[in-house]
């Protein structure tokens, strides 16, 4: 097992032991471990368990819920004979996604052959599990092109009262259900859910019981237009979709579009003007039949409302060709005033969006991630967008530092708790000056 000094440093800090240096790099470098036999893997798993037990022994208050395992076993199984050929790439992609998802003070390292151990310094157990679930989903989507993650579980190291520990396995469906309840009841992990994950089934068999007002699971995030100094757009958001496959995503997105258009029509009739953006997952319109179904629904949008509708392409696979994006944009264009794409700001090649019909790119800041790094990324993102002749938007601006940095970077649209929380019903356009944004005057919730 590779276990770098950096990871040990953080673990010492977690355990309250002195560290050698005041500041140190945030993550452990994790190299893929060479292929092992089944016996080796079993021995290694045992060794990992022993090692982790030693690390957390007697420190349950600090470490409980902090240690999680992200495994690649499911992907390995689905890739079958191709696994050996793509193994390094899968590991590389997994490390990239882990690094993007974990926070400044979190670390990770290679566990057994195809496992990564993630150590969360700040997040609670359920929020950390959601991050791990999201990582698993993204790895799967990136490597296999789908997000059929119902077989995936998150494994958490749980310390027991007697000092022993066990590895607790939680199914994604259970995590999703818990997250929906958390989001609906406004508990601590809800922020993570809303800010970062587009949404789970809010109804149907197995769905958790929710308070009545939150049963639809749909909320709207206000977006501040920096140049016009106004909140004129709302992004449709739901709870997490970590367990949802393409059919379920389609169903949810159809439901969101229908509900949103009804609301937009009401607001329009009452002289309120705003733009409402609807997420469209790539996997939910990737097949011709699903795209046709979605477009059939789009045709029901009244003509006079179409300029107020925006479609937000989400879950775009890395490197989706410019031609494919153009096809999708051309198909959606007659039914909206704007098409945007939510992208991973650290890795997206924004030139792929140029001249596709997509006019704006949105990047989401992960809650708890390194603020200094985010500020630098924000600068790069805004410049890259400008070069690609796109407007830029940043979602997840929760602090005044990020708001200041976003404005200074020349970002065109900002959303996040600094602008206003998600609301159950959007308002009409609202003038809000920079000073109002900075000093915390938010659109009424």
């Amino acid at each position: 097992m590779s276990f770098s000094g950096r990871a040990k440093g953080l673990l010492r800090r977690l355990a309250g032991e002195p560290t050698k240096a005041a500041s140190r790099p945030r993550k452990a470098a994790a190299e893929p471990v060479a292929k092992r036999s089944v016996t080796d893997e079993a021995a290694e798993a045992h060794s990992l368990k022993t090692r982790l037990a030693a690390l957390v022994q007697g420190r349950s208050a600090i470490a409980a819920g902090s240690f999680h395992l992200v495994g690649l076993a499911e992907i390995r199984e689905r890739l079958g004979a191709n696994w050996d050929r793509v193994r390094d790439k899968v590991h590389q992609e997994t490390r990239r996604i882990i690094e993007r998802r974990i926070g400044a003070k979190d670390v990770y390292f290679a566990g057994s052959a195809d496992d990564y151990v993630l150590v969360f310094a700040v997040l609670g157990k359920s929020a950390a599990q959601l991050v791990c679930a999201k990582i698993s989903q993204e790895v799967q989507r990136s490597m296999l092109g789908d997000s059929e993650t119902q077989d995936i579980s998150v494994r958490t190291l749980v310390c027991e009262i007697d000092g022993n520990f066990r590895i607790e396995k939680t199914k994604l469906s259970d995590l999703v259900a818990a997250a929906v309840v958390a989001a609906a009841t406004g508990s601590a992990s809800a922020e993570l859910v809303w800010a970062d994950m587009p949404a789970p089934p809010a109804s149907g068999p197995g769905a958790p019981a929710l308070p009545k007002h939150a049963q639809s699971g749909i909320v709207y995030r206000p977006v501040w237009d920096v140049r016009r100094e106004a909140v004129s757009t709302y992004l449709t958001r739901r709870g997490p979709t970590v367990g949802a496959g393409p059919d379920e995503l389609s169903r949810l997105e159809h439901e969101a579009l229908q509900a949103g258009i009804e609301m937009l029509a009401d607001l329009y009739q009452n002289q309120f003007r705003l733009r409402l953006s609807f997420p469209v997952s790539f996997e939910a319109i990737a097949s011709v039949s699903r795209l046709r179904t979605y477009l059939a629904l789009c045709r029901t949008i009244p003509e006079h409302l179409r300029k107020l509708v925006a479609f937000e392409l989400v879950n775009l696979p890395i490197g989706v060709p410019n031609g494919r994006l153009t096809e999708l944009a051309v198909a959606l264009r007659p039914y909206c005033g704007l098409i945007l794409a939510t992208v991973d700001w650290r890795h997206a090649d924004l030139s792929q969006f140029t001249k596709t019909g997509i006019r704006l790119v949105n990047a989401v800041i992960s809650p708890g991630s390194n603020e200094k790094q985010n500020m630098a990324e924000m600068d790069r993102f805004a410049i890259a967008a400008e070069k690609a002749e796109l407007q830029s938007a940043i979602e997840g601006v929760g602090t005044s530092s990020l708001a200041l940095a976003a404005k200074a970077a020349g970002v065109n649209f900002i959303s996040g708790d600094r602008i206003g929380p998600c609301v159950e019903a959007p308002h009409g356009m609202l003038r809000i000056s920079w000073n109002d944004v900075y000093f915390g005057k938010q659109p009424a919730a």
Binding site: K372, S401, A405, K407, A408
Partner: protein, 122 residues
């Protein structure tokens, strides 16, 4: 000679300001963001604070507001490059919330020294 606290997330800027001020005989303490700056302010009781505005972990305007909430007297010099879009808004805001003087980045060390002298003599 005065005790001066310099808050800036750019180590090169911090160092160059520190050298310029030490050359003038001042004692300089440094912090790399607003949060550290507030801690250093409480510990070092500086006679002057020089702070950048766009910083992680509590930016300069918020830091100025928090200093002013407890200490209306210690002079504060706010400086900013304002990112790609100029700095007028941010420096004006800093002045509104309690900075005694502002200095747009980039600046010459003579401008900094002159501003520091003005603030310390007043």
């Amino acid at each position: 000679m005065a005790r001066i606290l310099v808050i800036d997330d750019d180590p090169a800027v911090r160092l160059s300001i520190q050298l310029a001020l030490e050359h003038e005989g001042h004692h300089v303490a440094c912090a790399s963001d607003g949060e550290q700056g507030l801690r250093a302010f409480a510990l070092k009781a500086p006679e002057l604070v020089i702070t950048d505005l766009i910083m992680p972990n509590k930016e300069g305007i918020e830091a100025i507001m928090q200093i002013r909430a407890h200490d209306p007297k210690t002079p504060i010099l706010a400086m900013s490059g304002g990112g790609r879009l100029g700095n007028a808004d941010f420096l004006k805001m800093a002045a509104t919330v309690g900075a005694n003087a502002t200095l747009p980045k980039p600046f010459e060390s003579e401008d900094l020294i002159a501003a520091v002298r003005r603030l310390l003599s007043s």
